[in-house]
Each structure stands twice: as structure tokens, then as C-alpha cells.
Amino acid sequence: MRETLAERALSNPMDERALVERARAGDGQAFGLLYERYVDRVYGFVLFRVRDESVAQDLTQDVFIQVLRGLDGYDWRGTLAPWLLRIARNTVIDHWRRLGRRPERPMSAVEAEVDGDDEDSLIGRVADEEGEMAIGQAEAWLDRAAFQRAAAQLTDLQREVIALRFASGLSIRETADAMSRSEGAIKNLQHHAVRALRRALGRDDGAPSRDDGA
């Protein structure tokens, strides 16, 4: 895992910037290399969000088409990752809108605080939402299908932060950029999301999860 995580999370900024400049100048191969560098991270995020391989493939291509269109105006910020994943995030949102789907679950209290910045509410509601959990069940039946089923019980924001942090391997800062939120908000959100995922896995007995419109 050490090598996979580091290799996936790190990209040489200098090489990447050169590729971006070459792509802007019309070097198709340079854009192809950028595609190779990020396609799996984009696809992983989108697949986790839409849970359909063919839809995810379509939307992934949409993302890169949008990247190509917007590349001339992109301001280099050290890495393409946050911008790419923000486009991916918006593409998924637009996909749900086209299908007329609504957010699967109402926002949790923590997510409301991510938006509302209410410190007192944050303390109280986190306390209310915590319950007894069985420690050590987290790693049971941890295949992708189990994660997908469990993720169906999460809120939209929780799924998003899990997808960005764990499916795409973004850092806190990159995730914050992609979601247009503060780093503190992302830290709270991811912690809450992982806890919710763990609760969902603890309740998962292999039965099909509630269809949340995906």
C-alpha cells in the first residue's frame, strides 16, 4: 500500500506543468499523458458516485472533454488534481440533475455545520449522533460491493468526500479545493463520513441496500 498510495497521490508538478503547457499549445500526446495520469482517479471518483461502469466511463470522458475546453483558461496551482476533480464533481451533479434525481439523503448535522459554521450546534449534534459501535467490524467483507452498499446509506456530501479522499487519493487541501470548502470542514466531514460508513458496514448483512436513486 505504501508504494501505491505514494505513487498515486504524488505527481511531479514540474512534469505536469510542462504537459499542460504542451497540451495548450496543441500537443495531443501531452494531453493524452495528462489523461493517463488522471483518468483512473477521475473514474474512481465518478464510479463510486454513480455506481454504474458504463455511466462512469461516459462521464469520465465528459470530464476530460471539459478539461480540454477549459485548459487554456486554467491557472496553474501546482497540480491539476483539484480542478479535475471539481469538474468531475460537477459533472456527476449535472448527471443527477439531467436524470431528475435529488440528493439521496438529507444532510447530516455535521454537513449542515460544514455549511453553517455553528460551533455550538456542532458540539451538540455530534454528541447526539454518536452511538455505540462495535469496534473491529470495519474490515469485515470489505470488498467494493460492500463499500458501495454501505455508501448508499451515506449522504451525498459524505459519499463525495470519501470518493475524493479514498477513491481518488486527494489530499485534504486538494479535496477542500475540489469541494470549495475549508480544510477544517473537510476534516470534520471526512471523519464523520468514515464513521457513518463504518456504521453502515456494521448494519450490512449482505441484503440489497435501499435504492437511493442511483
Partner: protein, 401 residues
């Protein structure tokens, strides 16, 4: 195994190191989890990180769960799909700068690309109204002659090649047919004064798309295609009145779709009159419309990277995707953010001056020019040979606002 949780200090602290400028205070457990997970992400051994959390078994379990998620959730695009997408993108990205992304005029660049994407979602709503699933329409605003029109058509081809379900393909064909009609309307509405040749080509592609939609297993798709055909005549007549250069072509197409009732000749004395007053067949001058999906492979020729591998391609459908030769439109559009979002306001593209067709930069693998009005006579034949069903009225697809 259950553990007794230590009563945590739940009061969030705004002065946690590294988050002094955070808009939202971070509560300690979240901060600790974030640091632990980032350590693992940066290469620290999971066991070492978890071992340092002996005082908080729940937090340690969350870190293990995060590690499991990081192992299971990353995904890889399938090899053939990956190759095809990359080939398409390299081709689109490798076009000369003046024809790839920049419009005519200085400094247009991405500011022009952004409203194009905004209008794309209008077309996507239209596509959604036809009950599409994963099919996505690229843009309704790129018109023949625009610099991105070739990219748009190539994207349509690529999308079609990656859609295997017959009903989804049929739905996508119907959406593309509607797009071709909307392009005709847009060319006329914006004063581009399209030539008869341009309109004929678009009409031919519209007809071909609706014909291809008949390949659906779901009869409802065939009904939709028939309804789209049946409801187009009035619109074409209206357009004919506003497009002098293409009035004849549009009028002929409208007549082919909705022919006037011919006068019935007096029956011969020795033949009983038909109880329904049956209509005679219209004279034909071409072969009848094929009932099976033609397999010319033209769709594959339009896609960058060459033919679709047989392992991926369904029965190829003749859907010409060539770029029509018109000069790029001169458009002006408001500026916007560097990344496209769903909240983009609609574009305010300015119509370009009417111009004679000229050669525009073709896509990387330029498909052959289609025959002029390939289906006009075949359509007339089909409509004449198939009397209208008096029990079915044309249904208009409701358009969402």
C-alpha cells in the same frame, strides 16, 4: 469486540495546528483522524500509525477502515475503453490551436468554450426528456461551421460506439436526430442563412438517425422515432418560410413527411370502390427505405483513432458525422470561471454574418462527404407506402423547462 470509548473532548478548537485559518473549527477526533490518515497516505506503515492510537480503539478502527477503502475504491478504466478515449482526446487536443479551441477573433479562447458547455446542459435536458440513461449530448450550440462542431460530432460518434444496449442506442439516435433539427433551427434563427446543401445534409442525418432508432428492442423507441418524424413537418414548413436559400429543400422534406392527400381518380367501372377510399401509392423514383439497419461502418470512420474494435462495436450504424464546410461563427460571450459548472448562465452568442461555405478544419479522421439528400426520395416512398394509422396521434415529447 467492543471497546469503551474514552470521553472525548468534543469542543472544537480553532487553533489546531495547520487549521488556524479554517473557516470551520475542527474537533479533535477529526483532526487526529486526518493526521493519521495523511500519514498512511504519505507512506507510513498502517500498523505503526494504528499502533500509536492505542488510547483510542475507535479511531484506530476508522484508520483501518480508511485504508481498506483506499484499497477497494480506486478503479481502473477498462483497457479498450481507455485506449479509445485517449485516442479521441489526443485527436481533439492535437488540432491546430486556431481550430481546436479558440474561436475567431482575439482572446476568445476559453471564454467562448465555457458558454458552449452551459448550453450543452440545455441539450442534455432535452435528451433526458427522451428518457435517456447514460447517453450524454455534448452541445446544442456548436453549429456546422463552428470550430468545435467537429469535436462535438466526434464526441457523438465516440459516445455511440460506447453504447451497446440497443434501446439506449435507439434513444441516443433519437436525441441526435433532435439535435440535427435544432441545429437547422439555430442556423436559421441566428441569421446564418444556411445553404440548401447544408440543410440537405442535416436533414439526411436527421432521417438516418431516426431510421437507426428502429433497431431498438423496445417498441416504444420505434414509436418515439415515428412520433419525431410525424411532428417535424410543420416545423420544417415554418423554417422554410424563414430560410430563402433552403426553402425548397425544407419544403420538400416537409411534404415528404406530411404529403397532401392526393386527388382520388375515379375507379374503373368493374372495380368496387374501397370502403375506406384507399389512396393510391405515390410514384417512386428510388429504392424503398431499408427496413434493417444499414451497416456501412460510416460511424466508425468519423471517430478518431480509426475503426472500432470488433470486440467493442455493435452492428455499425450509418450516421454520418462529417463536419460541414462553413466558416467559423463569430461569437462573443461573457467571461466566466476557469472550470465549467452546472451553474453556468446561458451564453449570449452573437450571430455571425452570412457567408458562403468554406472548408473548415476536419477532425483527425475526416469521413467521406455524404450524398446530397440521401433519403428524400426514400422517405417519400416510405410515407406513401405506409398509410397513417388513424388510431394513433403524434405525440410531442414534453420539453422540460
Amino acid at each position: 469486540m467492543t471497546s469503551r470509548r474514552q470521553p472525548p473532548d468534543r469542543r472544537p478548537r480553532a487553533d489546531v495546528a495547520g487549521d488556524a485559518a479554517a473557516a470551520v473549527p475542527v474537533y479533535p477526533a477529526a483532526e487526529r483522524f486526518a493526521r493519521a490518515w495523511d500519514a498512511v497516505r504519505d507512506g507510513a506503515a498502517l500498523d505503526d500509525v494504528v499502533g500509536a492510537m492505542a488510547d483510542d480503539a475507535e479511531l484506530a478502527d476508522l484508520v483501518r477502515l480508511a485504508a481498506a477503502a483506499a484499497r477497494q475504491l480506486p478503479a481502473t478504466v477498462d483497457g479498450p475503453v481507455r485506449a479509445r478515449q485517449r485516442a479521441f482526446l489526443e485527436s481533439a487536443a492535437g488540432r491546430p490551436r486556431g481550430t481546436r479551441l479558440s474561436g475567431v477573433g482575439a482572446g476568445v479562447g476559453w471564454r467562448w468554450a465555457w458558454p458552449q458547455l452551459a448550453l450543452r446542459f440545455g441539450a442534455a435536458v432535452m435528451a433526458a426528456s427522451l428518457g435517456l440513461g447514460s447517453a450524454v449530448v455534448v452541445s446544442a450550440n456548436d453549429l456546422p461551421g463552428d470550430t468545435l462542431y467537429g469535436v462535438k460530432r466526434a464526441a457523438e460518434s465516440a459516445r455511440l460506439a460506447l453504447t451497446f444496449d440497443p434501446d439506449q442506442r435507439a434513444a441516443y439516435h433519437i436525441a441526435l436526430a433532435e439535435l440535427r433539427l435544432s441545429e437547422i433551427r439555430a442556423l436559421i434563427d441566428r441569421g446564418r442563412n444556411p445553404s440548401a446543401a447544408v440543410i440537405e445534409a442535416l436533414l439526411g442525418q436527421w432521417t438516418a438517425a431516426l431510421t437507426a432508432a428502429r433497431g431498438a428492442a423496445d417498441p416504444a423507441m420505434a414509436d418515439r422515432a415515428a412520433a419525431a418524424r410525424a411532428t417535424a413537418a410543420d416545423g420544417l414548413r415554418d423554417l422554410a418560410g424563414r430560410a430563402p436559400a433552403a426553402a425548397d429543400v425544407l419544403g420538400a422534406a416537409a411534404t415528404a413527411l406530411d404529403p397532401p392527400a392526393p386527388s382520388r381518380p375515379a375507379p374503373p367501372p368493374d372495380r368496387p370502390r374501397s370502403p375506406r377510399g384507399g389512396l393510391p401509392s405515390a410514384p417512386t423514383s428510388a429504392a424503398s427505405m431499408p427496413t434493417s439497419t444499414p451497416s456501412t461502418g460510416a460511424i466508425d470512420a468519423a471517430a478518431p483513432g480509426g475503426a472500432v474494435p470488433s470486440s467493442l462495436a455493435p452492428a455499425p450504424v450509418a450516421l454520418p458525422t462529417e463536419t460541414l464546410s462553413l466558416p467559423p461563427a463569430t461569437t462573443s460571450a461573457p467571461g466566466g470561471p476557469s472550470e465549467p459548472t452546472a451553474a453556468a448562465p446561458p451564453a449570449t452568442a452573437q450571430p455571425g454574418p452570412p457567408a458562403e461555405p468554406t472548408d473548415a478544419a476536419p477532425p483527425a479522421t475526416a469521413p467521406p462527404e455524404p450524398p446530397v439528400n440521401p433519403r428524400a426520395n426514400e422517405r417519400a416512398t416510405e410515407m406513401a407506402e405506409r398509410p397513417p394509422d388513424p388510431t394513433r396521434s403524434p405525440q410531442r415529447t414534453p420539453r422540460r423547462p
